[in-house]
Amino acid sequence: MKKIMNRIFFIILMLAAFSANSQFTDIYNYFSLHKMNPDTNAYEIGVSYNTFVSSNSISNKFVNSILFLGVPAFHMNKYLSYDLKKSNPVKTQNFFGMEDNACMYFSYLPDSMFGYDHLGYRVSVENSNHGDVKFSRDLYNITFFGNKDYAGKTADFTDLQLTYMRYQQVKFGLFKQSKNIEDPFTIYFGIGIIKGQSYNSLSFDTTTLFTEESGEYINLQMQALYFTTDTAKNKSKWYHFNGMGACADIAFTYEDKKGNYFISCSLNDIGFIRWKNNSLMVPFDTTVHWDGVMVDSILWGRDTTFNTNFTKDSLIKTLYAKTKKTGFVKMIPEKINIAITKRLLNNNLYATLGMSYLYHANCPYPLIYAKGDYYFRNKISAGLQLAYGGYGNFQCGLGVSARFTKNILLQLGSSNIIGFILPYQTYAQSAFGRVICNF
């Protein structure tokens, strides 16, 4: 049974690798609202899932060794070899982001609502996991190679930023279509409430580690701040409320029929979560000079029991000495997407040029992308996407969509198809899938 499930999982991922777009660069999400019609297409129900991991220095092979640990289909080895660790082109500043989002939504455009024509609404439920980290080369080297190579040197961990959060959203939004003949547009404004599931963040200010040349002592200077809601085991499942927040989405779609192009702008998840008062804030502002355990106090004699009292728990207790229970407010990642799409080749080819960005997510650069979707017989389309920026470098993706019936549309894709082919040379991978039912 396990083998069968692994094969199914593998097939889905492979399909995704040859398919459409990730939500990071998705323009269809709000474009579908623009296309709704109370007479022919008043309802839309959709289910989507997207995920990505991306870095400017951590290879897909390395990431997969961690993320898909033990998945036979990927033949991933849980051991990170020296060559694998060394293969990552770690830079002075390194970024890594990952996110997955699952969404169910329902959109309705009635003939009239509140006395207005072309006014509709959308209700959605989403589950999001987000993680990002900004780290130095020294931190990577110390973590994966140890400090031996830093004998006589100072490793600088300053400006580490690490965040990982899980949350669920319920959103409600209104959209209004303007049905000008030549340049129709649609605006959308939605608000939502957020249920915080868990949050962890660690940020280093000035943090260095000096290893004496022969290893006789180590100096650690640490100024850091750690937030966490994981104060108790089994209290961070999806159904646990560890924080509450609010968010807003704004989207605008403009279509120039004369010029045969349309522009999509969206600003999603402008919001925050206030994590509960039983969360922990742990400040570190310490300088540690470690030159070994003093053994003078240990009794002489035979049959001595060697007990150092040096345990993980005692170490954590020491580090958590200044722990404070407190509530805190943290922004959730905001997603900006701006794109312009030109229809070409008798409207069979949609050429898009766009930019997307994640705020509050240690994303160093905007993602600039260009893609083309070619529609075959108006039912099946295939697309190619080229992108650069974001957490990573150059990315190349493929996508496919198919309308199996008049009412059902399936979209699958990946923005980083090369990642599956050249895992050692590529630094991002993503998958995207959506099923839409219109009626």
Binding site: K148, G215, T304, T311, K312
Partner: protein, 722 residues
């Protein structure tokens, strides 16, 4: 050995930390990625100082900061118990009745002219001339010629002493007969006789030849050896020449009988209250050759058993004048019920003697206060070991007539037991106390088997004397033995310092003040003995034999004048004191120690190897060559830890100052491979050895108090991180 222990300990300690880190990182092994990291980190540090090597009790810091090993071991202790013990002493009296007194018995018999007239009328009829003349004289009131009275006998005069006794046999006693002649005529040939009524035995008989009118005559008779009954009969015979007299028939002649000073041999009588036992006794404690004049009791008991054969309740009082507490003599009183139905009655009394001050000079001090006690007419001189006591037994008068004889007695058993003194004084005798034994020394324990050469060794035999007695100590034998190589050396003297005298301390004369001991030292050095050769044997055992002579050549003083003393707990103690300056040439000093070892449940699977690096900064001028062996349960060697040839270098001695001024650094790397870790899992014991040699070789090097040897263990290893 502590140096070696420290190295081994640090090594094991670092392994422990090493494994501990690994253990913490091994959790969730199956669900998390893992990778190797190469760590370079200090694990442990330690500083070995002279204090770590030499216990404070064995170390003496000299003014130049150099070190001497000092060692002190008790050889022997003599306390009061060793010198003598006051034996349990018993006093037994069979105290027979010394006196039985029945008091004075008075009997009066009156014979009037009327009695004489009636007797004559009875004998000769109413017309008898004597009767008629007496009656005429009485009736006329005129002088009348009274006829001579021929022998007239008055028989069966009842004499009743039954209220005093039923029968009594006297060992002594007197009977006084007093005749008071109130007749106007002379009495001649008055014969007085008393006989027991039942046996008709004459008790007493006497004759008064002539008693003038209105005069008295008296006679005393001894009753010794007589048995007298309570019911007696008296007989009086009298005669008179008569004459012309005026008379009255009531005129009478009175016989007054007094029985007194009776010492009863036996009697059935009603005895009056009286002392029946009165005994004075001197009791000597038998302590050989010791003449005690005073003992202050710390503990002890006096037990008194008294047995009574009398048919009368007996009271006794036992008083020891020689034992006082708060100036009150020890006194024990008791009452013993009367013997009953042939069974002797008994009483037992016990009294705690704690705090009693015994003056053991005998009866003399008592007589000085109370006068002559033993009736010899003078105050007895002081003696020793002797107490003086009295025993008085008395009976009360019950009014009952009881059988009692001089054969009746009181059995008195008195014992002084477990008498332990707080203080004794006197002449404590001449004694010779021998002590032979062996002591294990620990001063050079770690170096047994080594070749050591010390300078200026000093050994002292120090005798501390708190006992108020002088004497001498003779060292018969002092032998240093090295049991590991069977070498030994025996002390011999090159100067006549043996035996040596022990002075007597000053008596504080108070149990509240400690006696300041005299310190008597026999110092052994190169000039008076061969002591260096004993120390260079590197002994771990010393055999000794000594003799202590008390009051050596001191004769006993006049009894009671001895001034030796001992307070409880004070003692003569002898210590052997050794001082070895740590200026030494050492070679072939090989130390070895074995410790049990177990990794337990420590997980070593994720350790992929590395090195433990030991840095040693050594200021001691001693080079060490350590080694650590891993042993299995059969003591078979599984692995050798320290790389061959690894040496902890000695500090360089400055030839001018003869000190090490800069620590010498040594780096020893111990590989920790997976194979070695597997062997560690099987290890049950760890044996550590190290050989030492002082540098520069063949030159005495001094060890200074501020020398240190600093250890730092750095882990240079890789292991899987989860």
């Amino acid at each position: 050995m502590k140096f070696l222990n420290k190295i081994v300990f640090i090594f094991l300690f670092c392994l422990h930390i090493f494994f501990l880190l690994s253990l913490n990182s091994c959790k969730k092994e199956s669900s998390e990625p893992n990778w190797d990291v190469n760590l370079l980190a200090p694990l442990a540090k330690a500083t070995l100082t002279v204090d770590n090597i030499i216990a404070d009790t064995l170390k003496k810091v000299n003014p130049d900061n150099s070190i001497s090993l000092v060692y002190q071991s008790g050889l022997y202790k003599f306390s009061l118990d060793t010198l003598f013990k006051i034996p349990d002493t018993t006093v037994n009296y069979v105290a027979k009745l010394s006196n039985l007194d029945l008091g004075t018995i008075n009997i009066t018999h009156r014979t009037s002219f009327g009695d004489i007239a009636n007797k004559d009328k009875e004998d000769n009829g109413p017309n008898s001339s004597l009767y008629q003349s007496i009656m005429n004289a009485h009736n006329s009131g005129m002088p009348t010629q009274i006829d001579p009275i021929t022998e007239q006998q008055f028989d069966s005069v009842a004499i009743d002493a039954s209220q005093y006794f039923q029968t009594v046999t006297l060992s002594q006693g007197f009977l006084d007969i007093k005749i008071d002649n109130q007749l106007p005529v002379s009495i001649t040939n008055l014969i007085f006789e008393v006989r027991n009524q039942s046996t008709n035995i004459v008790v007493v008989q006497d004759t008064f030849p002539f008693i003038s009118p209105f005069s008295q005559a008296e006679k005393t008779k001894s009753l010794a050896g007589l048995t007298v009954e309570g019911h007696m009969l008296g007989m009086v015979k009298l005669s008179s020449p008569g004459g012309e007299v005026t008379l009255d028939t009531s005129m009478a002649i009175t016989a007054q009988i007094s029985i007194y000073d009776l010492q009863v041999q036996s009697a059935i009588a009603s005895f009056p209250g009286q002392n029946v036992v009165d005994k004075k006794e001197k009791t000597a404690f038998k302590i050989n050759d010791v003449q005690l004049s005073r003992v202050l009791a710390r503990s002890g008991n006096i037990n008194i058993d008294v047995y009574n054969t009398l048919h009368e309740t007996l009271h006794f009082n036992y008083k020891v004048y020689s034992a006082t507490k708060n100036n009150i003599p020890l006194e024990i009183n008791g009452t013993i019920p009367q013997a009953f139905n042939g069974n002797v009655s008994h009483i037992s009394v016990n009294k705690n003697l704690q705090g009693y001050d015994f003056n053991l000079k005998g009866i003399g001090p008592v007589e000085q206060i109370y006068g002559d006690q033993n009736g010899n007419g003078f105050i007895d001189p002081d003696t020793v070991n002797t107490i003086f006591s009295t025993l008085v037994g008395s009976i009360d008068s019950s009014g009952n007539q009881i059988p009692l004889s001089m054969q009746d007695s009181i059995y008195f058993h008195c014992s002084f037991t477990n008498l332990s003194p707080d203080y004794v004084q006197g002449y404590l005798g001449r004694d010779t106390i021998s002590e032979s034994s062996a002591i294990e020394t620990n001063i050079l324990n770690e170096f047994v088997g080594a070749s050591l050469n010390f300078n200026d060794v000093k050994v002292s035999l120090v005798v501390s004397n708190q006992i108020g007695i002088s004497g001498k100590v003779m060292v018969n034998e002092l032998k240093a033995i090295n049991t590991s190589n069977n070498q030994s050396a025996t002390l011999s003297f090159t100067l006549p310092v043996n035996p040596f005298s022990i002075a007597k301390p000053v008596n504080p004369n108070s149990t509240l003040i400690d006696v300041t001991p005299t310190i008597n030292t026999l110092q052994l050095n190169n000039t008076n003995s061969n002591i260096n050769s004993l120390i260079n044997v590197v002994p771990n055992k010393i055999n000794y034999s000594v003799q202590v002579y008390t009051n050596y050549n001191i004769p006993p003083p006049i009894p009671g004048t001895g001034a030796d003393f001992i307070y409880y707990g004070d003692q003569i103690s002898a210590n052997l004191e050794v001082e070895v300056p740590l200026s030494v040439i050492a070679s072939n000093v090989t130390l070895c120690d074995t410790s049990t070892f177990s990794l337990g449940k420590t997980n070593t699977d994720k350790i992929t190897g590395g090195n433990l690096i030991l840095f040693v900064d050594n200021e001691f001028p001693v080079e060490a060559n350590p080694q650590v062996y891993l042993l299995d349960s059969n003591n078979a060697v599984l692995d050798i830890i320290i790389p061959s040839g690894a040496v902890v270098l000695a500090g360089d001695v400055n030839t001018t100052t003869e000190r090490v001024t800069t620590a010498k650094r040594t780096k020893i790397s111990v590989p920790i491979t997976e194979a070695r870790l597997e062997k560690l899992k099987k290890t049950k014991r760890i044996r550590a050895t190290a050989s030492f040699i002082t540098r520069p070789q063949n030159q005495h090097v001094k060890i200074y108090n501020d020398y240190t040897m600093r250890f730092k263990v750095v882990g240079d290893f890789s292991y899987k991180l989860h």
